[in-house]
């Protein structure tokens, strides 16, 4: 069953019908009447939403993944700040200890700017002339060295004047801020006129406070031990929930409700729908009431001498139990509905024949029901794998990844990295890189899903029974 052929067949129907209406008695506005024009106009709102909220975010997730955006860098541009941290980076990461030291320490440069300031202060013109003729452009690494030079001038300024003069020539970059690359480099060249290109690049990199393009996110993801742990958590979570609840338990619900009278079956279906229709916040709140140290479970087990505790968070195993049950109860109802309607579609005569033959219920289930559920099980598995991979609300509200990160799953890790954490430093770039992994998996899986289920979905027109 090739996907493209099915679509073409489905499309053939309206095409023929459009041909039938190709000769309307009279025309009004052109676009209102052509199937093509009207179609594009009516499709426009959907297209706009798709572009704005699906295509663009997919592309931007990829773009942001290659930046180091975070709360610290902001999401717009930054400035250039010569902080102690930036100087340390210059020394440690680029091996430019000398440059870092020069920039960090106050240095004394004899330049026109300083000389002009001296003139305004009313320093003797002879001293200024000496400095301009004999020392213009000189750099001294320390105050002592600079002041010795001043004292050696032919005019010999007194100590107070020496202090005043040296203050004006102090050219430290430490803790200064520049709004552009050019002004930073100009100031740095004032300190060390022989900056190499390499040093300039390193300096700009180390002092820039805004975000920059980088592939570090992926390097970090590939090398981090957390990644492995979160990945294993996610696989465990998805596989366990899927197998135990979304398929096996859902099937149990579908088969048992099939064998009981319609009235109680309807009540049980409603009960099992409650987790799905309830807003996640309340649903998880009820579980907390059930599991917390003053909650139902603790009070109940207290009768058997078991110490009250917060069952949802006391150990990793218990936390996993609740995370899986909480998510599983929500997922079970979807399988229940789909399996139930598949069982209902089995001709009753098959069951009657089996009953006449004296088949036990287990044999009915094995030989009549289960073979019919193959396709729905595949559907539920595919669909729920995707939703579990990206599910976040229930786990976030129940354990928030705790205790100690034991139940941290991939989607939750994205949330904690980029959107909300205690430290307050949100790493948008790294979070986007983690999200990109899920986006890629999501695209691949939904394309597979389309490939496998396209035929069914297009033929079995989805309809709500009234």
């Amino acid at each position: 069953m090739s996907a493209s052929r099915d679509i073409v067949e489905a499309a053939a129907v309206p095409a023929g019908a459009a041909a039938a209406s190709a000769h309307p008695p009279r025309w009004r506005a052109g676009w209102l009447n052509s199937s093509r024009g009207l179609g594009l106009i009516l499709l426009m709102p959907a297209l706009v939403l798709v572009v704005l909220f699906f295509l663009m975010p997919v592309v931007l997730t990829g773009v942001f993944a290659f930046t180091n955006m975070s709360t610290a860098t902001g999401i717009s541009g930054g400035t250039y700040q010569v902080t102690p941290g930036a100087l340390r980076e210059l020394a440690d990461r680029h091996g430019m200890d000398e440059l870092a030291e020069k920039l960090g320490q106050p240095s004394f440069v004899v330049d026109e700017q300083g000389l002009k300031a001296l003139e305004e202060m009313g320093i003797e013109p002879a001293i200024i002339a000496d400095l301009r003729e004999g020392h213009l452009g000189e750099t001294h690494a320390s105050r002592r060295e600079f002041e010795r030079m001043l004292r050696d001038l032919p005019e010999r300024p007194d100590t107070r004047t020496v202090k005043r003069i040296s203050g004006e020539f102090s050219r430290s970059l430490a803790n200064s801020r520049f709004s552009s690359r050019e002004s930073l480099l100009a100031a740095a060249e004032g300190v060390d006129p022989e900056l190499t290109e390499e040093e300039k690049t390193a300096l700009v990199q180390a002092t820039y406070t805004g975000w920059v393009w980088t592939a570090d996110n992926f390097r970090r993801m590939a090398s981090s031990r957390d990644t492995v742990r979160i990945l294993l958590n996610t696989i465990f979570f998805v596989a366990t929930t899927l197998i135990i609840f979304n398929t096996a338990f859902a099937m149990l619900l579908a088969i048992t409700t099939h064998y009981i009278p319609e009235r109680p079956a309807g009540i049980f279906r409603i009960i099992w729908f409650l987790p799905r229709i309830s807003p996640a916040v309340i649903y998880v709140l009820l579980w907390k009431w059930f599991a917390w140290d003053t909650g139902f479970l603790s009070a109940f087990l207290d009768n058997f001498g078991i110490r009250p505790r917060n069952w949802m968070l006391d150990t990793a195993a218990n936390a996993w139990f609740f995370v899986i049950v909480i998510n599983g109860f929500v997922g079970a109802s979807m399988g229940m509905v789909i399996f139930s309607s598949a069982i209902k579609a089995i001709p009753e005569s098959l069951f009657h024949a089996a009953s006449v033959d004296g088949a036990y219920r287990w044999q009915q289930v094995r030989h009549i029901i289960l073979p019919q559920l193959k396709w729905p099980i595949l559907f539920v598995t595919c669909y729920q794998t995707l939703s579990l991979l990206t599910s976040i609300e229930q786990t976030l509200l129940a354990t928030d990844g705790g205790p100690g990160g034991a139940t941290e799953i991939w989607s939750l890790a994205i949330y904690h990295t980029a959107l909300n954490n205690y430290a307050g430093n949100l790493q948008y770039g790294y979070g986007a890189a983690m999200a990109l992994v899920l986006v890629v998996i999501g695209i691949v899986l939904s394309l597979i899903y389309l490939r496998v289920f396209n035929y069914r979905a297009l033929v079995a027109k989805p309809r709500i029974e009234l």
Binding site: A18, L40, V281, L285, S355, A435, S446
Partner: protein, 274 residues
């Protein structure tokens, strides 16, 4: 159909596995209007004190009515957007011969399966850049866009069931295709619009993670974010009060579900008739 086979073992088994849910939801009601002695779960007095939040606003928290209004605006606006977009796009995909129709159909299916929540980091940054962060409009549009693929799919299904003769007759009478859609076809799919509207409203009403990330501010807080904030605040642990706010929040959902469960169960079950 399986008359001679007993059903009570199944009822019993189902009752046992359903017990935790029944218990939790029963106590959602019981605990909001009663007090129980510590360590016991049998109420000994009737009280309305847990409902104080309706007339007393906590310091530092927005008023419950403000939050409820936000929730209502959020749910109904995103529902409206979903309805408009789905009723037009669904018709196109069901009936009109637009270029690339096959591509759009496949696209809607992929989007339906695609987990949009993975895009939340990018959407969060974009909303901050364009200044729609912490505004209801931004989060409404995002929610509507995410629910839209399912909506289009459902509406297409309803349009597919409308007989072609109705449209043929309209066109033969000289109506434009737009008029035919507006005046003849749209009334035929009213049940679909109703079901989808109901469903989209409930989805919006229940949504937590989008407003939590995109619009957490006090002015635009919705009920889910408000309640989650109350629960997360360790200084004011009051389970009965949480449950009262929760019941206040979930009541519309339960009422609508009990009245219209037939409409809703099929959509909740994945949107397709498996």
């Amino acid at each position: 159909m399986t008359g001679h086979l007993k059903s009570w073992p199944f009822v019993l088994a189902l009752s046992i596995i359903s017990a935790p849910i029944v218990l939790m939801y029963s106590y959602l009601f019981i605990d909001t209007i009663t007090n129980s002695p510590p360590g016991s779960f049998i109420p000994h007095e009737f009280t309305l004190e847990h409902w104080r939040f309706l007339w007393e606003t906590r310091p530092g928290k927005p008023s419950i009515w403000r939050v409820t209004l936000n929730s209502f605006l959020f749910a109904s606006s995103s529902c409206l957007v979903v309805l408009v977009v789905s009723s037009t796009a669904g018709y196109v995909l069901s009936r009109l011969n637009v270029p690339g129709r096959a591509f759009f159909l496949a696209g809607v299916m992929v989007l339906h399966a695609f987990p949009a929540v993975t895009l939340i980091v990018a959407i969060f940054l974009v909303l901050q850049m364009v200044g729609l962060y912490n505004s209801l409009i931004g989060v409404i549009l995002v929610k509507a866009a995410i629910d839209m693929p399912l909506g289009i799919w459902i509406m297409k299904g309803f349009y597919d069931t409308v007989p072609w003769e109705i449209e043929m007759a309209g066109i033969a009478d000289g109506a434009s295709r737009f008029t035919v859609w507006r005046k003849l076809v749209l009334p035929q799919v009213k049940p679909g619009l109703f079901a989808l509207g109901l469903f989209a409203f409930l989805l919006g009403w229940s949504e937590f993670i989008l407003p939590q990330v995109l619009a957490p501010g006090g002015d635009v807080q919705v009920l889910s974010v408000y309640l989650a904030g109350l629960i997360a605040d360790d200084n004011n642990f009051d389970m009965a009060m949480f449950k009262s706010v929760g019941l206040f929040y979930i009541a519309p959902v339960l009422i609508l579900f009990l009245f219209f469960q037939k409409y809703l169960m099929n959509i909740y079950g994945g949107g397709t008739k498996g």
